[in-house]
């Protein structure tokens, strides 16, 4: 294989982002869940929830650590692998990048304080208050960094005169048209995924036969937000469809294998393209694409043929899109089913098949996050800055990217194993039943003694 710096740079960026996004997603969502548990624990005076918050925090320190170091990696790799992109984009979109560091700084400080001050305040609510800046900081950094990604999709706030970027408006660049749907989708899906991940931990223990009420409480307090946020994710996803139809029609068209501009367009699910470029074996939902794009069957949806061939995203993004949507729907069903059972058939809510489904919701929601990002990024190809700069124009010229792919790959494997081993040891050797006993919190609702 001949050395292709652009392709290798893409692979390395994909590798780092794919790894980082897991920890970033957990990093955004879990503080909210910890806050919820601690709040409920304080309000109901139920130490089981406090214990949940404590144990989640402990695990969170590990995922945050990996999130921080991989975040540093991707932050630097943007300049190392795409120097010309950062040179250009830096002039227009540096503001939110800069603010992201502040938000993270803020989060890091309060997290440091929060972790080490469980027993330092007379009133537990003061300790809880320290978590608010953590949650705000993590969501704010997600917000800022997503505006940068949104800018890559719908750049605005500048003009190009004779090849020079002028007339720059950083605020306009930051609040570009892709921001509301993208930020909304990133935040809701991060909260959803974190809720499912924590729920699956509780479900997993219950499947192994643990029957302490602690686990049931854990399951309930995670699954209810999971319902809320999986529905919210779907709603925002629907808005994203309309956004794409208006601002990035080629991305929607590639996702949907929609070639000719037309109204009453059907939604094509899965299938394949034969040698003549005809869609075969697909599930067609009449009018659904038009409805996704503009709420009515008569909405005209722009087809891929309107775009020059070298400006079309690769057609395999169709599968990313379909998988993402399928997983999203499945996850929503799991969450809703649990809620329905809990309300009307409580004796079924903790059946093995239900618990198994909840255990699976964690890997599936993480997979949905990965696939969703692959759709978002590959669907923007060939552009790095849509309409202005192509990916191939901005890659580094260094001859060493291929070696670094292997080196970073090894690094991520080592970090995964390390984090896995430590998390396992942390929780396995110190089960909650034992810890609750040590604290005298076995009956969570009683006034605590310590």
């Amino acid at each position: 294989m001949t050395y292709d710096a652009t392709m290798y740079s893409r692979i390395l960026t994909e590798l780092t982002l794919a790894f980082h996004i897991i920890f970033a997603t957990i990093g955004v969502g879990v503080p909210l869940m910890i806050a919820l548990a601690q709040w409920v624990g304080i309000k109901r005076n139920d130490n089981h929830y406090i214990m949940l918050a404590r144990r989640w925090t402990r695990g969170f320190t590990i995922t945050v650590a990996v999130g921080v170091v991989t975040g540093t990696a991707i932050g630097l790799q943007l300049s190392l692998l795409w120097p010309k992109f950062m040179e250009a984009a830096g002039q227009v979109i540096a503001l939110p990048l800069f603010m992201e560091t502040f938000a993270f700084f803020f989060e890091a400080i309060f997290l440091g304080i929060y972790i080490y001050t469980w027993n330092r305040f007379k009133k537990p609510i003061y300790h809880f208050l320290l978590l608010i800046p953590v949650a705000i900081g993590s969501s704010a950094s997600a917000f800022f960094i997503t505006t940068v990604n949104a800018f890559m999709n719908t750049p605005q706030g500048f003009e190009i005169v004779n090849g020079v970027i002028t007339n720059i408006n950083p605020i306009e660049a930051m609040f570009n048209p892709a921001v509301p749907t993208k930020v909304g989708h990133v935040l809701t899906s991060a909260y959803m995924t974190s809720a499912f991940v924590l729920a699956s931990l509780a479900a997993f223990q219950m499947l192994k036969g643990k029957d302490h009420v602690y686990y049931k409480k854990a399951l309930k307090i995670t699954m209810i937000p999971a319902i809320v946020f999986s529905i919210a994710t779907a709603v925002v996803g629907d808005f994203s469809g309309k956004f794409l139809a208006d601002y990035q029609p080629e991305k929607l068209a590639a996702a949907e294998w929609h070639f000719e501009t037309e109204s009453h367009a059907p939604l094509i699910l899965y299938g394949y393209l034969d040698e003549n470029g005809e869609v075969k074996g697909a599930l067609e939902i009449p009018y659904a694409l038009s409805i996704l794009a503009g709420n009515t069957p008569s909405t005209e949806v722009i087809g891929l043929n309107e775009f020059p061939e070298d400006e079309r995203p690769p057609l395999y993004v169709h599968y990313f899109f379909d998988l993402m949507v399928t997983l999203g729907i499945l996850l929503t069903i799991v969450a809703l089913l649990y809620a329905v059972l809990l309300k009307w058939k409580p004796h079924l809510a903790h059946k093995k098949w239900m618990l198994r489904a909840i255990v699976w919701s964690a890997p599936l929601s993480l997979l949905a996050i990965e696939i969703g990002w692959f759709f978002a990024e590959v669907g923007r190809q060939p552009w790095i800055l849509r309409g202005y700069l192509k990916v191939s124009e901005t890659a580094t010229t260094s001859p060493h990217v291929d070696t670094l792919i292997i080196v970073f790959g090894l690094l991520y494997i080592v970090l995964t194993i390390g984090a896995g081993v430590v998390l396992r040891r942390m929780f396995k050797n110190n089960p909650p039943e034992q810890e609750l006993k040590e604290y005298g919190w076995d009956h969570g609702g009683e006034k605590h003694v310590s």
Binding site: V64, G71, G90, F105, I109, G112, P170, V401, L404, V421
Partner: protein, 337 residues
Amino acid sequence: MSLELLGISVLWIFLFGYVIVASIDFGAGFFITYSEWTGQKQVLHKIIQRYLSPVWEVTNVFLVFFFVGIVGFFPKTAYYYGSALLVPVSISIILLAIRGSYYAFGTYGSKDNKWYTFLYGVTGVLIPASLTTVLTISEGGYLTITDNGVYLKLTALLTSPYSWGVVLLAIVSVLFISASFLTYYARKAEDSHAESLLRQYTLGWSVPSVLIAVIVFYMLKTQNVEHFNQMVDLAWMFMISLAFFMTGLYLIYKRKAYGWAFTAITMQYFFAFLAYGISHYPYLLYPVLTIYDGFTNETMAIALVIAFIVGLLLLIPALYLLLRLFLFNRDYVKGTR
């Protein structure tokens, strides 16, 4: 003050902040590992762990802040340094990643794992070494710049005595700064055993750090004579730096006022760092990139400055709270809470 100058000054001061907090952290790693070899681990372990645990992530953010800031204020640096530094900076990223994550694994996960301690100590020495190559490259002569791209002359870098001199200076300075801070911290914790060990370390690294600094200074003459001459013009700043060094050393030697001793040593580095930065002016990269032709547009610069001020208004009280609860809290430092 022009916006260009304001931007680089702010970034330079933040970088100095990183140099100090990171030095304490990196050196601490080295001392823990070293004391494990010499069988004195128990003496230092607790005190270092107590200091580092709440602040390690904050340290890392200082660095991120610097490089995001420099790309924001001076986007052209992304092109020159980004293109050229793929390999050396990737090495730094990997070391930082190993250090950060294994620190967390060791602290929050399994206690007292020899491997974690080893990784933690070794990376503490290697990271400053790899990061300082950026400063070496900024002196010029290590890059091939063509219309197609910017390339690093790796062999030239690796065989340059100046480059290794800077590496050595960085490592020795890290150990000196770290030891002087930890001496102070140990006294606050009323841990006299750790205090006397760390005081020895401080004294041991003090004179070598200044000697190497002087040697590197003379090596710069062959590396970049223009920069060297500008540094000579700022000799008075280096004299102030030296005076602070003597003050700090005297206090440590006399076992007096370690807090002031550490402050003096910080000021020693502050003046040297500032003088180095001022004499580097106006170049971000000799001889191709100055802060003027590398600068972003005025609108962005103003926006960044405003964001910076607002950010500081949020951060300073937060940092103050962090320091008050941990660093300057007698009970916490002593380990009673």
